[in-house]
């Protein structure tokens, strides 16, 4: 049994306290300790982006992050975008642009796009393509995902 540690952090705006094994990933903690399943496991090795979350506003692969490293920080998952106007614009744009097929990559794509728009509110198509480079999608061929991010960036508040 591995060593446990208690951590406190803000999860989607809510103060949260959990006990986790020290070697547990943030992805496992979010999915199985906290029970939010919108963040996906696609590879566990930082290669697919399905597990993308925001850590203090910066996008990271939750599978590569230790849960204990969330201590004292602010974590946002796809569920947290329900209260975020730009996040809502993105989700709406993904739906309207047809950027969702099987949907498995979608939460990660939306989170990565959210981080991109925070850094660069008016990205070009090439900037969007580069911005989501680390997120794999097997279904869509990416065109409509790029359309969606571009549309969300254009949309008025």
């Amino acid at each position: 049994m591995s060593l446990q540690q208690e951590i406190e952090f803000t999860l989607n705006g809510v103060p949260t306290r959990v006990r986790v094994p020290v070697d547990m990933s943030a992805l496992d903690m979010i999915r199985s300790v906290v029970g939010l399943t919108g963040t996906k496991y696609g590879c566990g090795e930082g290669e697919c982006g399905a597990c993308t979350i925001l850590l203090d506003g910066v996008s990271v692969n939750a599978c590569l992050l230790f849960a204990v490293d969330c201590d004292g920080r602010s974590v946002t998952t796809i569920e947290g975008l329900a209260d975020d106007p730009i996040g809502q614009k993105l989700e709406k744009a993904f739906v309207e642009a047809g950027a969702v097929q099987c949907g498995f990559c979608t939460p990660g794509m939306v989170m990565q796009s959210r981080a991109l728009l925070a850094k660069n509110p008016n990205p070009t198509r090439e900037e969007i393509q580069r911005g989501i480079e680390g997120n794999l999608c097997r279904c869509t061929g990416y065109v409509k995902i790029v359309d969606a991010v571009a549309a969300a960036a254009r949309a008025k508040e």
């Binding site: 697919c48 796809i78 739906v95």
Partner: protein, 791 residues
């Protein structure tokens, strides 16, 4: 509501997917996200040898680990039945392993971590056997035999359930499956030819890479009924197959399909992990959940079929194709899944994409100690099209004809019945060819790039085309290719559509709802589609062969038309008009001619219901396409409609590094009719990029039976910055049998890219490459060899 309601339609519009909002919000619960109270976690121990006898398995230490509820091996499941397409495969291996993915033991434990730790405590003693991993060696005398003995307990009849036959007799020659097809007389065809070419094409291993890894939850209720949460693409066929494997009554098996994280054909067969999870649930009397890791997904899920294909073909100087002879060697891997049957689709491309009087086709799938292949979007057609369309360019060049003109001369026309028996009732092939060529400026660019080949310069551009034929109206590979629908309306005008057809991300749910709206004049928001529970939904053969829009669509239309007739008959009585004078629009009954509102639909439904002769609007329909099961010679009209496409690819080749960049893909697709423009564009774009991966970046490297790159780091999927510009044109041939004229399109867009890219690279550099994928190293070596030869 205005007094008058104009006729409106959703067909051909850009309709957003019904399930997209919950997916975009991260609310969709995939198999990985489901947990059942009391659930244990399953893990599988796989072989560490490529080919060996199992001498001893010791599970005692694993069983003793706290938190472990069961450890099972073949000895604990004495009456296993073989699974898979050829029934040559036991879920848990008995005394022999034939590939590295082979399942030896399984654990159910309180947590995945404990299960994993228990696997490490299982001790297995092996005795290595000679390894066979080159399919060309498989047929040589003295080659190691992969299935020398009968199965159904690996030659140990005492392990067989009394009264049951040995299910798999073994193969003394490593030949898993053969296909032979012929039409005309190829010798005569060859005599009539002015040019004859023969080349060997090599097609590699790739795998599906569904973003959601494989998984299942199995549980028995106290009465012994089995419930599985499974991502299968064929739930109704699997009910029966599971019943056979488990020796239980199929009526006691229920399959619920949570939303699926990608299918692409990977979930058409039963794989060992599924019965193994059921065995664990049985052994522990607890629900058991088993989910793969990504590494396991690479190692132990199916692949596309690797093929060595030799094509000999000829034509006359005037451009008439004369004959084709094809020999293929399919590497079956250690067991037989659907990959071995891909020759069935390949032969259609060889015999019928173009008019060829004389054809001969022979194929062998041979056992090796490699991973085994399953079905994968396109089903052999990527492989066949790569060879056939490469040769089309080469033949055209040999007789000095423009490749487009050469193709047009031999392309099929509507109404044609091919020697194989396929009847092309609608066929937009020539339109596809000319549209894609015109839109991409193919002929002019091809000449220009060819002229520029010899000029100095590091970067060369090239353009190439390829076309495809694929089933677009189902595929009658089983005696039935049907789909059932139950439709019911509630008191408020809402429609529930129960369909046997599963949604795997392709958007069928939305298209079915659209087709129902078209008949019943209700808004899309009034339709709910239920498609994921064998206990509730009517029978369907499964999601495969690009069939769902066509077959399930026709079925849904049938049920909706019955409901419509019933509603209009009732409304006619109330309105004192003839049913033909009425129509359904925007949730109302209107006068058909003027659109004048007669009454609201919910009101009529309530009247029907709260009435002396109380009635509900509930209908059912079963659609069976008018296609035929092919005869033993593979002749017959296997699909109710056929899809066509031409794709033109423009590339840039860096002759210093061998890097090939896809600049633009221009496609023209005969889809019958566009039902949901947004959905069909997405399908085609996704297919193009999957084809790009097949052509350029993806390769599962299997060396001596070992998968060398079981991770996305080394198995390169195409990423967002690498995609080409895409331009897609739709050829609407309005198929007479199709739902609102539509044909299937799911597989089509992935099929041509590799072939078109080969032709484009040749146009850019003058060098023809016969082997996929076109990695920088391979392209560089080919260019280098050509230069050396020239010097």
């Amino acid at each position: 509501m205005p007094e008058v309601i104009e006729k409106d339609t959703l067909i051909g519009k850009r309709i957003t997917k019904l399930d997209a909002p919950e997916k975009a919000g991260g609310k969709t619960r995939y198999i990985h996200d489901l947990n059942v109270p009391g659930q244990l976690y399953g893990k599988i121990l796989r072989s560490s040898r490529v080919h060996a006898l199992i001498k001893k398995i010791d599970t005692s230490k694993a069983r003793a680990l706290p938190g472990v509820h069961a450890v099972i091996t073949a000895a604990d499941v004495p009456y296993q039945r073989p699974i898979g397409v050829a029934k040559d495969h036991l879920p848990l291996k008995t005394d022999r392993v034939r590939s590295l993915r082979d399942e030896i033991a399984a654990v159910a434990a309180e947590t995945p971590e404990i299960a994993e730790a228990a696997l490490k405590l299982i001790e297995v003693e092996y005795e290595d056997l000679p390894v066979l991993t080159d399919p060309r060696e498989a047929l040589k005398p003295g080659a190691p035999l992969i299935h020398p003995e009968p199965h159904g307990a690996d030659g140990k009849p005492e392990h067989l359930k009394p009264g049951m036959p040995v299910a798999y007799a073994g193969k003394p020659d490593n030949i898993a499956m053969t296909f032979d097809y012929g039409q005309g007389d190829v010798a005569q065809g060859e005599r009539e030819s002015d040019v004859v070419l023969e080349h060997t094409f090599r097609l590699h291993y790739v795998t599906h890479c569904c973003m959601g890894v494989s998984g299942i939850i199995a549980e028995f209720d106290p009465s012994g009924n089995l419930l599985m949460y499974s991502n299968t693409q064929v739930p109704f066929l699997h009910k029966r197959e599971f019943a056979e494997i488990l020796d239980m009554d199929p009526a006691r098996i229920r399959i619920i399909q949570p939303p699926i994280g990608g299918g692409f054909g990977s979930k058409l067969d039963i794989y060992p992990f599924e019965p193994i999870t059921v065995f664990l649930a049985k052994a522990t009397r607890r629900p058991v959940k088993l989910v793969f890791t990504r590494e396991e997904e690479f190692l132990a899920s199916p692949t596309r079929q690797p093929v060595i294909l030799t094509l000999r073909s000829g034509c006359r100087k005037d451009g008439t194709l004369t004959f084709r002879t094809v020999e293929t060697l399919h590497d079956n891997g250690a067991y037989t899944s659907w990959g071995a049957t891909t020759p069935f689709v390949m032969m259609q491309t060889i015999s019928s994409l173009y008019r060829v009087s004389h054809c001969k086709y022979h194929t062998k799938a041979v056992y090796t100690n490699n991973p085994y292949a399953g079905s994968f979007r396109g089903y052999g057609n990527l492989q066949a099209t790569f060879a056939v369309e490469s040769h089309m360019d080469m033949l055209a060049e040999a007789i000095g004809m423009d490749p487009l003109e050469f193709r047009l001369k031999n392309a099929q026309d509507p109404g044609e019945v091919t020697p194989q028996g396929m009847h092309f009732k609608s066929c937009g092939f020539k339109d596809c060819l000319t549209t894609a060529a015109r839109a991409s400026d193919y002929s002019a660019k091809r000449r220009r790039y060819q002229a520029e080949q010899a000029r100095p310069g590091r970067f060369k551009r090239g353009i190439g085309m390829a076309s495809m034929l694929h089933v677009g109206g189902g595929a009658k590979i089983y005696p039935s290719d049907g789909c059932g629908t139950i439709l019911k309306m509630d008191d408020f005008g809402a429609v529930t559509l129960l369909t046997g057809a599963s949604e795997i991300g392709q958007g069928s749910e939305t298209v079915l709802a659209q087709l129902v709206c078209e008949e019943l004049g209700v808004p899309l928001s009034a339709v709910r589609v239920i498609n994921n529970d064998t206990e509730i939904t009517p029978w369907d053969v499964g999601v495969h062969a690009s069939r769902t829009t066509f077959i399930a669509g026709n079925s849904a239309i049938g049920a909706a038309r019955k409901a419509r007739a019933k509603i209009l008959a009732a409304a006619a009585g109330v309105a004192q008009m003839a049913p033909e004078e009425l129509d359904l629009r925007a949730g109302h009954i209107v006068e058909a001619r003027t659109g004048k509102m007669v009454m609201s639909l919910p009101k009529l439904l309530r009247q029907l219901h709260f009435n002396d002769k109380a009635e509900l609007v509930m209908t059912s329909f079963y659609y069976e396409p008018p296609s035929k099961h092919q005869d033993k010679q593979f002749k017959g009209d296997v699909s109710a409609a056929y899809a066509w496409a031409t794709q033109v690819v423009e590339v840039e080749v860096d002759t210093d590094t061998g890097i090939v960049r896809l600049l633009k893909v221009t496609g023209a697709h005969d889809v019958g009719r566009v039902l949901n423009r947004l959905g069909i564009e997405g399908q085609i774009e996704g297919g193009i990029v999957m084809g790009q991966g097949y052509a350029l970046t993806e390769e599962l490297m299997v060396e001596n039976g070992v998968v060398k790159n079981p991770a996305f780091r080394d198995y390169k999927l195409v990423t967002a910055p690498e995609i080409p510009e895409m331009e897609v044109h739709f050829i609407e041939t309005m198929d007479g049998e199709g739902p609102q004229g539509a044909k299937g399109v799911g597989e089509a867009p992935a099929i041509c890219i590799a072939a078109a890219t080969a032709n484009a690279i040749c146009n850019a550099t003058g060098v023809r490459i016969f082997e996929l994928p076109f990695t920088p190293e391979k392209v560089y070596r080919a260019l280098h060899a050509a230069r050396k030869e020239a010097a």
